[in-house]
């Protein structure tokens, strides 16, 4: 991380938390975009991705920010469906549909957006107080 060599401030912390939420939101959006996609093999079917968060404590200031440690593929098994007319059907007439749960992904996006808003709100309040402190004569 580019900011790790400098002491963590409220601003860098909020920035990292917002980036992490953005990664999470993008992962859920990718899953939604791939919902309903089919494949001719079980291995080739799309597996939903999830962002993994870890807390990052800065000992000097006591602040802890969020780091998104990359993405993991969840092991949701694809649904096997009999559809011999499908162009992607295998020799026995089956297609494999991805196991994306659309409602769960929508909720994931909503929760992520809510937490993003919370961070922004906290940052705004803190920034306002800092400005007041600076402007005091």
């Amino acid at each position: 991380m580019s900011v790790s060599d400098r002491p963590m401030t409220l601003f860098t912390m909020s920035e990292q938390a917002m980036s992490a939420q953005l990664v999470r939101m993008n992962a859920a959006t990718s899953n939604l975009a791939n919902a309903g996609s089919v494949s001719s093999t079980e291995e080739g079917a799309y597996r939903p991705i999830r962002a993994v968060f870890t807390a990052e404590l800065d000992r000097a200031t006591g602040l802890s920010s969020v780091r998104s440690d990359g993405l993991v593929r969840s092991e949701t098994a694809p649904t096997k469906r009999y559809d011999p007319g499908h162009p992607l059907a295998n020799g026995e007439g089956y297609v494999f549909e991805t196991g994306v749960d659309e409602s769960a992904e929508m909720i994931e996006i909503m929760e992520s957006a809510r937490q993003y808003q919370n961070v922004v709100q906290a940052l705004q309040t803190a920034k306002q107080l800092m400005i007041e402190t600076l402007r005091s004569e």
Partner: protein, 120 residues
């Protein structure tokens, strides 16, 4: 110097500012599995800070680490995260208000002193 000028309010403002950072960390980590929400024991941290200013023993890492306590969750969640957003937001708002109040005390002190210096 600042102790004589601002009394308790200078130290209080510092602790309030630090607590704001800790509470903001909690809000930022609302979705991190295994994260334990923390809070500063304001009264104890302030007392320690005042003691230190009067020549008491200094804290090992300068930070109020000894007063950084883990919050007991109302309802533990499965992923080990103990952040409860409603509580954190409430504490953050309360802390921001108290920061504002302390700041106005400090500002009042500065204004008084400025007027005395100007001789108005």
């Amino acid at each position: 110097m600042s102790e004589a000028l601002f009394g308790i309010h200078g130290a209080a403002l510092e602790v309030r500012s630090q607590r704001m950072g800790v509470l903001a960390s909690n809000i930022a980590n609302a979705a991190t599995p295994g994260y334990k929400a923390r809070d500063i024991d304001f009264g104890a941290a302030l007392a320690d800070r005042l003691e230190q200013r009067r020549g008491g023993p200094s804290m090992p890492n300068g930070l109020d680490a000894d007063h950084l306590l883990y919050r007991a969750p109302t309802m533990p969640s499965l992923d080990g995260n103990t952040v409860e957003l409603n509580r954190e937001q409430l504490a953050f708002a309360e802390n921001a208000l108290a920061y504002s109040a302390t700041l106005s005390f400090v500002q009042g002190k500065v204004n008084t002193l400025t007027r005395a210096l100007k001789g108005e």
